[in-house]
Symmetry: C2
Subunit: 589 residues, 2 copies
Amino acid sequence: MLRKYFPILEWGAAYDRDTLTDDLIAAVIVTIMLIPQSLAYALLAGLPAEVGLYASIAPLVIYAVFGTSRALAVGPVAVASLMTAAAAGQLAAQGTPEYYTAAILMAFLSGLMLTAMGFLRLGFLANFLSHPVISGFITASGLIIAASQLRHILGVEAHGHTLVDILATLFAHLGDINLPTLAIGVFATGFLFWSRSRLKPLLNRLGITGKLAGVLTRTGPVFAVAATTLATWALALDESGVAVVGAVPQGLPGLTVPSFDVQLWAQIAVPALLISIVGYVETISVAQTLAAKRRQRVDPDQELVALGASNLGSAVSGGFPVTGGFSRSVVNFDAGARTPAAGAYTAAGIALATMFLTPLLFFLPKATLAATIIVAVLSLIDLPALKRTWDYSRMDFAAMAATILVTLAFGVEMGIIAGVGLSIGLHLYRTSKPHVAVVGQVPGTEHFRNIDRHDVVTLPEVFSVRVDESLYFPNARFLEDLVADAVASEPRIRHVVLMCPAVNHVDASALESLEAINARLRDADVTLHLSEVKGPVMDRLARSHFLDELTGEVYLTQYDALHALAPKLAEETLGAARKLDACRTTRGT
Amino acid sequence: MLRKYFPILEWGAAYDRDTLTDDLIAAVIVTIMLIPQSLAYALLAGLPAEVGLYASIAPLVIYAVFGTSRALAVGPVAVASLMTAAAAGQLAAQGTPEYYTAAILMAFLSGLMLTAMGFLRLGFLANFLSHPVISGFITASGLIIAASQLRHILGVEAHGHTLVDILATLFAHLGDINLPTLAIGVFATGFLFWSRSRLKPLLNRLGITGKLAGVLTRTGPVFAVAATTLATWALALDESGVAVVGAVPQGLPGLTVPSFDVQLWAQIAVPALLISIVGYVETISVAQTLAAKRRQRVDPDQELVALGASNLGSAVSGGFPVTGGFSRSVVNFDAGARTPAAGAYTAAGIALATMFLTPLLFFLPKATLAATIIVAVLSLIDLPALKRTWDYSRMDFAAMAATILVTLAFGVEMGIIAGVGLSIGLHLYRTSKPHVAVVGQVPGTEHFRNIDRHDVVTLPEVFSVRVDESLYFPNARFLEDLVADAVASEPRIRHVVLMCPAVNHVDASALESLEAINARLRDADVTLHLSEVKGPVMDRLARSHFLDELTGEVYLTQYDALHALAPKLAEETLGAARKLDACRTTRGT
């Protein structure tokens, strides 16, 4: 029990010197990568640079205690930072203490929600975010983030939380472009793109190969930061209008008490819930992908607790919402991290940076940070997914496209809500009109197939239909209509057989419909039968009065049903001597 | 095409003298029954008595033109009247012109929505109202209606749209009971209950049997109205505080132009949508039940158009929302109505009453109308349904109980919204944790069954699992977890076979999960196979890259899968000479 909630007890017991070495090496590499990222995502969230560092200390230590993934690296990430900015921006202006308070409260509430969901085993809530919705949402968020960072590259004013607002204000200020800023921004962006694709081949040619080359490639942002900071300092570019990070407080964060303003909690609740679910979905996907590579297990409910505790830790140490990030986790994994302790060592590295390196950040241009954000988020934008989804399913495409458009036009919260609502609605619509097949017997076999697809024999007195869907409220009436139409249009029908091999569930609405169908057919002197009912469905039906009232029988197989009904028909309508084979007629001929 | 939208063209062409006679007889009986009902439901809706009559003229004629049910009788009904009162009561005080305007607009907007839903074939929207929700909603509405009418029986003040409000205000005014009113109310209620259960046996003993006795039993309210009106007039009880209907305008309604106030439309929109859906569900259930008795067809989409047009007709002739009523339709059917023309003749009867009989209604006590409402709605209250639903499904019970409680505590609109939301949520929750079975081979057969229920053989190298649910976003991650856990906990697993005979659909989220599972298993050197994939699912998978990337095969049957994998395993892990039978091991022994 204790080990379930404190996975550190399990891996900690087997911790040895070799593991320590591996974890330490990974931690050094991740620390170097995380410093510019943390600063950049704080900028994206509209917060002071040091807040990004704060969010990369306590959460990592806490995740090391509670997390079940061996390689996950938590910290500030792009999408969560954008969502924080959108939520806090609705309550206060960037740069005000109220704005910072709101960001801290986002982390705190999100932490409470995630922890509660973990204890209550509500992780399934994250499932409501279907893949097309999350994919569309991340693509749209990436576009919004990239657009929002253009102002730092150009050195102009721009604001807003939707693509339309951002681009409109950006174009209005295009005349104010600051050329030194633009030069830094273009250089940093270009260098980062170059280092992504060309640095590794170059290192390979220089004899640096394998994992080391991969890890070095990831440190491109550090070089960009160093080079542009030096240039700004040397050329005093800050005096020419280049926006710099400026004075960053030195030292570890103090203990923060989150706001307990009830009204503020009410305003933050929905954004906090959305950021929790989006953050969790990213976290659990990354964790499972990495765990599978080493056949390790991840406990989805415990991950909720761990991510929740990390966010609570972030909130009480002056940080903002954190998530398990994809790229940093992959770096951590590739660099050889073997336990969550690597995250704790990374936290120590960031803490050291906070204590000693912040003076070096004074001349760091915001344009460089914006460039690292743009290059990072452009990899999130997955437009080919639109094509793939279109090819696979028009409904899923509709959910994805709607999520993208609503997010771009109305912001992140509306985008997610619209996407989730639409994907649930489309699912219900699809199952409300299930695939049904009128079936007949494949001659010479005991198999029954769709009369539209196969050459089968049917009896005009027996209407056999297979429904390829669970029977539940969205399609309950559909079944009533189907049977009513069939019986009304063919006066010879004396028996209806519902073939149920694909019916995984019959809910109370469908039970009521079956009872109505049975009663209506009885009024019309038609008998209702079932066949191939699954065990769990049959168990449940036995708890109702339906089986007592059923005018016909429940047959194990459709063949049994026809075999039993045909002789009766023979007696009743075709004379006693005729047998099943003799009374087969082919529908449609 | 014309006949589809004007069913009158079809049955009208075959109309003859016999049909006319039958329809006329039914119309006379329904007219007599409908007059007190119409007055009572207008009272329930908080509207002047004549509005009930107006709502029983134009809508009936219009339904006769557009309706596909031969026996449905539209007009004011209890639940729709309560919903009208709740919606209009939020906008204006009863008795004000604004209140009446809101009620007319409810009918108009509901008519527009229903007609549009009919043309757009959106009838499936009504399916979202699951049976437990509609049943719970009607029970709760019945309780609220009965409680709200108690004030007329007692002659005291009471108001509110929730059970709590109504009972609280009622108790506060209990000291004001008017004894003559109470006497009339108790007499009328008692007589109506008596006539429901005892009148028919009495008539039978008097030699009146069969349908005539049944129809006469239904006219109890007319006797109650006549007796109490006469008594009130003769004893001048109105001067002793008995509330009477009073002066009712004589003559046919004029043409009403509904309000085009945009703000009012916005406020009425949600209640109008809810009343549309609730009314449609009742209408289509009644229509299908009656149609089935004569093997007739009802077109659900055309019924939307017909009900919508009826409501538009009600709105422009000063009426309020109408619905196909259960009890009056049964009376119409039992009285021998053969075509919708019976409804038109009923309308003519009500129109005559409006022109000539309204002066007789002056001394009609409101207590009598309240008694007819109470007796009518108590039959709607179906508490045994709670027990039945509990026995059948705890989840459906939860949706029903929540609908009842929220309706009683927060009113009809919140009740429906909560019920629909909860039933959708519970459905998603249920399918998010589908029934899965790890399967093994039944010895000596080609069948594969749950290893927990049957004595089957399995191979430690092959993990075969059957998911009894469509794969879609709420359970996509569940499948990932399931496979990841299995593979992590049994290092010998080399092959995973997903058995899919119950998978009716694979959406884009589940496809993504299958791709992730495939990739993760590949990283762990495990091969993924599918078996028994349905045709439509296979067609769709073929439109993605999944089948190209799949590390294993898609087998027609689970037996084929094992047959193909076992020799490989034999070669790889057990030596080339061993065969399938030899390498069978029984799991759990």
